[in-house]
């Protein structure tokens, strides 16, 4: 009998785990960053994985349970998660992570956002009035977020301030070196023109000097239509203007393959976040792999 009680208690109340700070990230890149900064002092989980479109997941019971116990919720924000995060927060009954509290961090609001819509008319698609939220594809943004995230971790868990500070110092050193390396490798890509499935890559494009000439979606959030793809063929077939058609792993590959076959433009799948490809197992290998994939398409 005693054993049964003990097992039940362990099942429902694993409160005595070693981690000092529970971090709930909306996207895998922020979970990965929290792991870099907090090492074994944080317990991270991510609401979405790299094979899910972060606009469209469900407010699942398992996620509500995680938010209930979180000390810090980190999301891209700028309305990326508007379809499910407000529901998680309202059901989770956890005042620590309510918007406006130190336990809630919206990373997109920390960086220079692009594509801030002056017009929020929905005939233009599901535009985000606060700008494009997919900020993680520029490594400079990641470093900015790392700084703020470290501050928050220290604020919420002062006992481990030294650990977080060390985590940041180490990350900053390695990340800055990596950025220099990536920029050197990517210099040949400057000025290349791309067609993207969704406007997921504008920060990568700004960083590497790529130019996005069109998207496969006619307007943001509306799936590619035959008519729109037909127009793209007319405009871009065999004229050598466009260098890549890029998409994220969770976006259907059919439209980009279809267009690629008819135009001869290589279709490239790029991991949008950590876990998006076999190689992209952490933030460093994420950018390694993005560049590998662009450069190897370049050589073809």
């Amino acid at each position: 009998m005693k054993n049964i009680i003990l097992v039940t208690a362990l099942l429902f109340f694993p409160l005595l785990s070693k981690a000092d700070l529970r971090v709930f990230a909306c996207e895998p890149e922020w979970a990965a960053l929290a792991d870099e900064l907090g090492t074994d002092r944080v317990k991270t989980s991510s609401a979405t994985n790299a094979l899910q479109d972060p606009h469209y997941i469900q407010a699942r019971p398992s996620l509500i349970a995680k938010v209930r116990r979180a000390d810090l919720v980190i999301c891209s924000g700028a309305q990326l998660e508007i379809g499910w995060l407000p529901m998680l927060l309202s059901k989770a009954n956890n005042p620590k992570v309510m918007p406006g509290r130190p336990g809630f961090l919206e990373t997109a609001l920390l960086v220079n956002r692009l594509d801030i819509a002056s017009n929020t008319d929905r005939s233009q698609g599901d535009v985000h009035p606060q700008g494009n939220p997919h900020i993680q594809t520029n490594p400079h943004n990641i470093l900015l977020v790392a700084g703020i995230m470290t501050e928050r971790m220290i604020q919420l868990d002062a006992d481990n301030a030294a650990t977080y500070q060390q985590g940041f110092d180490s990350f900053r050193k390695r990340w800055s070196a990596a950025i220099i390396n990536w920029q050197e490798r990517a210099s040949v890509l400057r000025g290349r023109k791309v067609i993207a499935h969704h406007k997921s890559w504008i920060y990568l494009e700004a960083w590497l000097g790529l130019e996005e000439v069109a998207t496969l979606e006619p307007v943001p959030g509306v799936p590619p239509s035959a008519g729109h793809l037909g127009n793209l063929i007319q405009n871009y077939a065999h004229n050598g203007v466009v260098d890549y058609i890029i998409r994220a792993p969770f976006q259907s590959k059919k439209p980009s393959m279809w267009l690629s076959e008819r135009t001869g433009i290589p279709a490239v799948m790029l991991p949008l976040t950590v876990g998006g490809s076999d190689k992209a197992s952490d933030l460093f290998s994420l950018f390694d792999d993005i560049l590998d994939r662009l450069l190897s398409a370049e050589q073809q």
Binding site: Q52, R68, Q79, E106
Partner: protein
């Protein structure tokens, strides 16, 4: 000829403008990039400084007194963590409007629709025949302050040619109660069952299942106070209850001095791998009914007594890798059991003691094979005890066969904000078999709240 030359002229003009445009855009982008770099360097340096001072401060604070939690260093630095504000001001409160309408066809006259043994109350019953405007739902919501949030739903409905503005929901909810608690007061959809608190625009079929129509008058809405507690466990577990006024079907007359109904619910759920997730729950509603009206207007029945309702719910969702956008399946089933003890006053003036059990259930599947398109199938059924000889030939006497029907649905959504739906229902619940079918539209403008699981 003239058209052609004008066309050529325009084309040439474009040829001249486009490269210039592209060039200027490129310059703009370059300038932006340079600026970003400069800003970025500056911010990193600034950040480092802040980090150092912050670390020192937090160490110092730890050594002296507990830190003053009220001042948020982020606000001082100009980084607002509050969503909805960003750098752009947004309108407060959030306002959304949802338009619904339909064209509905019947074999039989819907005005004479009755389910033998289950006199309908509340909002239950068939849609109007032919073209009609559904509910125009106006949602207004905002945080009151750091401790409270407020929600108002005011549908505009057309009832018998009259335009009526209703208060469907008007509640205040706490944001900052400790220990996983939250309290909601006002008028709300009761938290019993899976479907009861879903707005009609979020339903997967045009109408509610028969069991919700028969036992809840479509949906149980009442005035009261609702407490929810979420367990601090890895497994989702929510317990809650409500005390309500008891003035809406299946309760009536605000019995027990205006505390005429209460509810209890327990709900759990989780994931199985990345692709599957589920939710299951049990809920209970007990309510006083004082002269509760059901049945048609000409044949109104009045019930006085106690009504008990138990609901078991199960929802299962599947999407490959949990990526809902492309393909997904939703399976849903609920079982409702009702016991009512009291007195019925019949249209002919007779008063008869009543004690009867009734059950109802439905199962439904909604499948999205490709983005935008969904297909649905629903089966629902009711069954009832024979309430006794005295009720023979009244609308409380069930038919020999259990009432049932099935529905097929296909809908198309251009975006999250628009939906067109075709539905066919084969109804064996009324007095005569009825084939019902029609088209429905649902459009939403303005702010649109996140949907629950």
């Amino acid at each position: 000829m003239r058209i052609l030359s004008t066309g050529i002229l325009w084309a040439c003009l474009f040829c001249m403008i486009t490269p210039a445009l592209a060039q200027s855009e490129l310059d703009l982008l370059r300038a932006e990039l340079t600026q970003m770099r400069a800003e970025y360097e500056a911010r990193i340096t600034q950040l480092e400084k802040r980090l150092k001072t912050f670390e020192n401060k937090s160490v110092a604070a730890k050594q002296t007194a507990p830190p003053a939690a009220e001042t948020d260093p982020w606000q001082a630095a100009g980084d607002s963590g509050r969503p909805g504000t960003g750098n752009k001001p947004s309108f407060n409160p959030d306002i959304g409007v949802i338009f619904q309408g339909q064209a509905w066809n019947y074999d039989n006259d819907p005005d004479h629709y009755v389910i033998p043994g289950f006199p309908l109350g509340g909002e239950a019953g068939p849609l109007p025949e032919g073209l009609s405007l559904g509910e125009i739902e106006i949602d207004i919501s905002a945080n009151v302050d750091d401790k409270f949030t407020a929600w108002l739903t005011v549908p505009i409905v057309i009832e018998d040619g009259e335009t009526v503005v209703e208060v469907e929901e008007a509640w205040i909810e706490t944001l900052a109660l400790p220990a996983g608690l939250s309290l909601r007061v006002g008028r709300y959809f009761s938290n019993i069952g899976y479907l009861n608190d879903k707005h009609s625009h979020a339903w997967d079929f045009v109408d509610q299942p028969l069991s919700y129509q028969a036992f809840l008058g479509n949906q149980y809405i009442d005035d009261g106070a609702q407490l929810r507690w979420l367990a601090p466990t890895d497994m989702y577990l929510e317990l809650g209850g409500e005390i309500n006024r008891g003035d809406r079907y299946p309760s009536a007359g605000a019995g027990s001095s205006g505390y005429g109904s209460y509810t209890l619910h327990a709900r759990s759920g989780g994931d199985i791998g990345f692709s599957h997730s589920w939710q299951a729950g049990l809920s209970y509603l007990q309510s006083d009914a004082i002269e509760r009206v059901s049945g048609g207007e000409d044949e109104a029945l009045l019930f006085t007594g106690q009504s008990e309702l138990m609901i078991a719910e199960l929802v299962w969702k599947w999407a490959p890798n949990g990526n809902n956008k492309q393909r997904n399946l939703k399976l849903q089933a609920e079982y409702l059991w009702r016991n009512e003890v009291g007195t019925y006053r019949l249209p002919d003036g007779r008063q008869l003691p009543y004690d009867s059990d009734q059950q109802g259930w439905y199962v439904q599947a909604v499948f999205q094979p490709i983005p935008r398109w969904r297909l649905g199938l629903r089966y629902d059924r009711l069954s009832s005890d024979e309430p006794g000889d005295a009720f023979r030939d009244t609308s409380l006497s069930p038919a020999a066969n259990d009432p049932w029907r099935y529905s097929l649905m296909a809908d198309w959504s251009n975006s999250e904000f628009s939906r067109l739906r075709l539905q066919y229902t084969n109804d064996q619940a009324g007095q005569e078999d009825d084939k019902q079918w029609g088209l429905q539209y649902i459009f939403s403008i303005g702010a649109h709240g996140a949907h629950s699981f």
